[in-house]
Symmetry: C2
Subunit: 498 residues, 2 copies
């Protein structure tokens, strides 16, 4: 613990917080990769050292299961360490050097050197459903710090004590590792979050949450005198499409997997499959009901999410033609929290079209809709019409269904999601270089990703230096390349063949 | 000439144009790199084959000099050919392959393969001041076609005949090279442009023009039910800062270069230096006036730009304390076009602060402001306060001025511009891999670049495929890598050391 612990910050005005982030930027943006990577690893170690304490707080504040929280805390550490690798590797800077070229095809070319560079202080709105991995020290924070941006986290009210404790531990670890003070700051009030989106010192914002709040904040970011990028993850229903052959070959495994994916963490995952599309005539009732009946009661994250879940489920059940396959439980405990079991319903494809948003909008919780499609349905067209923007789309095919028809369908699906799965379930999100967690609106407000190493790109901007003396260049652009980053060089004379 | 020539398109409704772009996307996005590259080269060749005709039309429509237009046409061809290289190289796809890994630190990792992929139909608003290089077949069109996106160009009314002729030639060349029909379409009315920004088939827009129009269009792009990215280049005043030593060592060359950079193409360049900052006491009047007096009369692009120029110059001259160093000419020819020579004025630094936007806003034309700063001024702070967002910032230093003070200033400047020049002039924009033509608001609406090979990134989005059979993957993600693109591979087992 140091003087930079979070509770002290909570009392500061928004202006103070923003000013400190701005002042910190200068030093932080110039830290060498090794120092920044070491600080990220130390932050991961600080979380690991306090795992028991942190998981206990998280359990009491969120109702999530211990095993899930331990796994999520591990993931959070891995995210920090993965970005330490990204920083020392240096490929993320996309360094490009143009050699000066007096023979350039369009006339003498200067010495030009371009790198991606941190954008400035980043405001990160924490999510409720991942109290570690998408919160104070989560993926957005790790990516922004790795980029060299000071981070201000707006804590989620669903886990306030955990947020403060994680901020204390991580802030202390970063400072003790030698990063400038205030690389990570925490604010807790909604007013502070809104004010910071509009503060001139803040240069980018990241958000994971509801479409309604995300749109409000995005409008504020866009309405500033100088608009800033707003990376919002707003909502996704993650349809899963199953072919007749897939159901014939492994129907029972598929339906069990579906219910498990819908029910894990009480369905409070951004990649929960909100729809399963099966051919008309598929028999699924008994298997789905049996699997759902085996799912134990699970607490929802907080009363506000419980209210929304109760309301949305009632809306869907109120639509004529919606058939209940398994009716789940919903009861309020003495402390106001809700305990639920999964609810699965079924509709014909046509009803989705006619009922519109009441059926199509996300239901956040252990609820999903089985959609029966006619054998002759054009599934690509149906996705384009009904599910145009998602984090994931999943296609379960039978053995050997790898022909032109399926290829065209996959091409089509890839236009409407950031990740296309062939088999499996979308609720496991690998934290790796090739992950894409972001898709067409409303999945995300832009085409970035908030999971995986490419997430760092959201907090960088291109800067080129022309004819600069070595001493005035940032280290990755100098001839001696002391940061040892990969660089793409455009050599003199190469344009003569153009 | 083929049936896809532009005039036929002009009669089609906006819906038809948008629908065709959408239908074209499917085929275009799947063309092999070699085919797309060959088509881009053929388009360049078509322009070269008709250079005399095109330059003659451009001269009559824009008043730009023949040598400038021939250079610009050459640049436009080089841009197309450069993007042909980018396409065949394939690095722009940023392909990442995660090997499936049962030992992954967070539990079994699937086979995950990510590529950047074309975003869909792109709407490109042509600029007035580069009738070739930022117009129908200009940089934005080349980048979007290279990415695999169909392009709809909204022609600029300043060069209507040229726009149609270029569209005819390029459209025919692309189709004859085997690309799907309607890869390039042209619309001419303002209403069509506005309607297309809001059309669901359009997935991204690029714009070069005024801040006022750019903001209106950006708001429409953001206000759609599904917002789309809007890449606007809106305005830049490109300050040039000269140290006392630089002026002592090469004052005469520096002042000559300044006037030349202000006056080239009658100052109608997005990188024209709108401000030159010199220390108080610098003697520049005679040199600047003499250089300006040597600049021949030049036509402004069109009467609308002439009106804006006349108005803005009058506004600046109306500010108390603005001193005229060289008063330029402005006269209307019989055809309504304006003929001008450069005007240079001088102000003390303090006046910029107190007068605000009337002095600070861009004056599009051969006009610039010399700003006298006190020896003790903090130039970094002055730039942050007065010139926070620019395409370029230029610093002229004396021999050996490469110490910590200058390093800190360069770091500061790099926050407020996309390109920082050490010496030289910003009005030459190299078309190369390391160019960055885009900077903080209002220079551009996002941190992309519209010049150089990195410009292709604006028209791509990330898509990941999980556990997909080889046959269902796009070619750059298949094991056999028939497109021969560079790929970054995360190997199994690598996470064990994390």
């Amino acid at each position: 613990m140091t003087a930079t612990a979070a509770p002290e910050h909570l009392d500061r005005t928004v202006d103070d917080v923003a000013r400190r982030a701005r002042e910190t930027f200068d030093g932080l943006s110039r830290t060498a990769p090794g120092a920044r990577a070491a600080a990220l690893r130390d932050a991961a170690a600080a979380l690991a050292d306090h795992a028991d304490e942190l998981v206990a707080i998280a359990q009491s504040e969120t109702g999530l299961a211990e095993a899930r929280l331990r796994g999520e805390l591990k993931r959070t550490q891995v995210q920090l360490r993965l970005f330490a690798h990204v920083v020392t590797d240096g490929a993320y800077l996309d360094v490009r050097l143009d050699e000066a070229d007096s023979d350039f095809v369009l006339g003498p070319r200067p010495d030009l050197r371009r790198t991606l560079w941190p954008v400035g202080p980043v405001l990160n709105f924490a999510a409720s459903n991942f109290p570690f991995a998408f919160s104070v020290a989560g993926g957005d924070t790790a990516a922004a710090l790795a980029a060299g941006c000071p981070v201000i986290v707006k804590a989620h009210p669903g886990h306030p004590r955990l947020s403060v404790r994680v901020a204390e531990l991580v802030s202390a670890a970063l400072t003790e590792a030698g990063l400038p003070e205030f690389a990570l700051q925490l604010v807790t009030s909604q007013d502070a979050g809104v004010a910071l989106v509009e503060h001139p010192a803040v240069r980018a914002a990241a958000f994971t949450g509801s479409q309604r709040v995300g749109q409000l904040l995005a409008a504020r970011a866009a309405g500033r005198p100088e608009p800033i990028p707003f990376f919002g993850e707003l909502g996704s229903v993650n349809p899963v499409l199953a072919s007749a052959a897939a159901l014939r070959e492994r129907g029972s495994e598929l339906l069990d997997g579906y219910v498990a994916s819908v029910s894990g963490s009480a369905g409070q995952l951004c990649t929960k499959p909100g729809f399963l599309l099966v051919p008309e005539g598929t028999r699924y009732d008994d298997a789905v009901a049996a699997a759902a009946a085996r799912v134990p009661e699970h607490r929802l994250l907080n009363p506000s999410i419980a209210d929304g879940y109760e309301r949305r489920v009632a809306e869907v059940l109120g639509v004529d033609g919606v058939r209940v396959v398994h009716g789940g439980g919903f009861r309020r405990a003495a402390d106001g929290q809700a305990l639920v079991t999964p609810t699965l319903v079924a509709v014909p494809l046509d009803l989705l079209r006619s009922a519109g948003s009441v059926l199509l909008d996300e239901v956040f919780g252990p609820f999903s809709v089985i959609v029966e499609y006619p054998a002759e349905a054009d599934l690509g067209a149906a996705v384009a019409e009904l599910f145009p923007g998602n984090l994931t789309l999943t296609l379960h095919l039978g053995d050997g269904e790898t022909g032109e028809e399926q290829g065209a369908l996959v091409t089509r699906l890839a236009r409407h999601a950031g990740r296309v799965l062939l088999g499996g379930w979308p609720t496991g999100v690998a934290v790796t270089p090739a992950m894409q967690h972001g898709g067409p609106w409303p999945a995300t407000t832009t085409d970035g990703t908030s999971v995986g190493t490419a997430a760092i790109g959201r907090f960088l901007r291109g800067v080129a230096f022309q004819d600069a003396p070595q001493e005035l260049l940032p280290p990755p652009l100098r001839d001696d390349n002391t940061w040892d980053v990969p660089r793409t060089i455009a050599t003199r004379g190469e344009s003569l063949g153009w």
